[in-house]
Subunit: 133 residues, 2 copies
């Protein structure tokens, strides 16, 4: 294992993450009133196209369970998602997207993609890229 390669990869990840997060926060926030975490949660729900358990979301977004709980609470307050108890297991909570949430996501998606494109289009990871996956 080349230690140099590992450290270079880490620096790449740090730099792109900082740049992208900063840009996403600015663009999504100014144009759509969403933070990156909020967008990510909306995006996961839309992607699955069904109501999800908090727990399922927890596995997909990179947030602690408590942070996720609060993101969902903010989204609910903004009427972009709604929470409902799970009948089968009443400890659980289902989160489903509202019409407003779907609309907001549709509006924000192009902004999100544009930011990522600008940041990653010409920035292959250390080691170079060949094709895909």
């Amino acid at each position: 294992m080349d230690e140099r390669f590992v450290v270079d990869t880490w620096h790449y990840v740090l730099a792109r993450h900082a740049k992208a997060m900063c840009a996403l926060e600015r663009e999504l926030g100014d144009r759509h009133g969403l933070g990156p975490s909020e967008f990510e949660v909306l995006d996961r729900i839309v992607h699955h196209d069904r109501k999800l358990r908090i727990q399922e979301l927890c596995d997909e977004v990179h947030l602690s369970q408590s942070a996720l709980s609060r993101v969902v609470a903010r989204l609910e307050k903004a009427e972009l998602v709604s929470r409902g108890v799970c009948d089968a297991d009443r400890r659980g909570v289902y989160v489903s997207i509202t019409d407003a949430g779907r609309t907001r996501h549709t509006e924000a998606l192009p902004t999100h993609r544009a930011v990522l494109l600008q940041i990653f289009a010409d920035a292959p990871a250390p080691g170079g890229t060949v094709s895909r996956r």
Copy 2:
């Protein structure tokens, strides 16, 4: 540019960043009493092997100027760096590493590298890497 590739790259960056940050926080914190930001600042100074202006550090670490100011304040309180006014431009501040800081960095470096190795050794970015997979 393939939009799919860009989004995959973003997910890769998000996942590795979260995983590495979490592990670094745990390992560096438990074993050496340092946070990732604190280590990064120490590491930059050691790498240059001279006293640096806050501003120079600001260009190299992925923190806002205010966050950096506070990280340096914490490091100073822990006696790992010392601050001194810059004679040439008395608005500026020089940060230099202390012996204790150098020692701490030397101790922490293997931990840092071990964490990165574990996380990045077999995890090429989307697009794959030319050399090893």
